[in-house]
């Protein structure tokens, strides 16, 4: 299912470490399940830099700390589904067993 318009959502990253290595890896691997192009911006830093949600290096380079707001913009196939899933992962606080 393709969305004619890009789908954008803003989410607060509650995880105390933000989008650091391990949560970012989970985020990237979830993004890779969808055909959509999803871009991530750090609204709090406001640099305008955009990361491809499928690139761990680009996502971690956004410098997202706990409490920062990110904007997820999806386009192409499954855009709404992908953005919803990624936003839900962020909202969940990336909770997982053994998380440090």
């Amino acid at each position: 299912m393709s969305s004619p318009e890009p789908v954008a959502v803003e989410v607060v990253v509650e995880h105390e470490h933000g989008l650091h290595l391990r949560p970012a890896a989970r985020f990237v691997r979830l993004a890779a399940r969808y055909g959509a192009l999803v871009e991530v911006e750090n609204v709090t830093r406001g640099t305008g830099r955009r990361a491809n949600a499928r690139s761990l290096l680009e996502v971690t380079a956004l410098g997202v700390d706990g409490g920062h707001v990110v904007r997820l913009t999806g386009s192409g196939p499954e855009a709404a589904t992908a953005v919803d899933a990624l936003a839900a992962l962020i909202r969940s606080g990336f909770a997982e067993p053994g998380e440090r």
Binding site: R29, S55, A61
Partner: protein, 132 residues
């Protein structure tokens, strides 16, 4: 089975540290071998050890070799020449920064991507601006 990685470094501790990072982001889904350090704990690289490592993790969908500095490249190139042709055909030396390239390649490999995609992920790390 995913594409495997070989970490070639002058320092065993450096390579083990990168392996630790990779395991954090892939949860052990990617075969990783370390070929690092010289005899008796000295710094150095060894072509025969690299070749053995490539063979060890190269059973599946191929291997991407990451190197740290300078002469590690020469050792890795020599190692590729030592390999059985069937293994060599599925081995690629990445022109990429060691840490970022290895982590990016590992994530890509954990997605089940093919050899070309894993190599491309490693090499895409060259252009990354690190500061937000």
């Amino acid at each position: 089975m995913s594409v495997g990685l070989v970490l070639v470094s002058h320092s065993a501790r450096l390579a083990e540290g990168v392996r630790e990072l990779i395991e954090q982001v892939t949860q052990g889904q990617v075969p990783v071998a370390v070929a690092a350090g010289g005899a008796g704990g000295a710094l150095g690289t060894n072509a025969a050890e690299i070749a053995d490592s490539v063979t060890a993790v190269g059973g599946g969908d191929g291997v991407v070799v990451l190197v740290d500095l300078g002469s590690a490249v020469l050792s890795a190139e020599t190692a590729l020449e030592l390999l059985e042709p069937a293994v060599r055909d599925r081995a690629r030396l990445a022109d990429a920064p060691f840490v970022e390239g290895a982590v990016a390649a590992a994530v890509e490999a954990s997605l089940g991507s093919d050899l070309a995609a894993v190599l491309a992920a490693a090499e895409a790390a060259r252009g990354l601006e690190k500061l937000a």
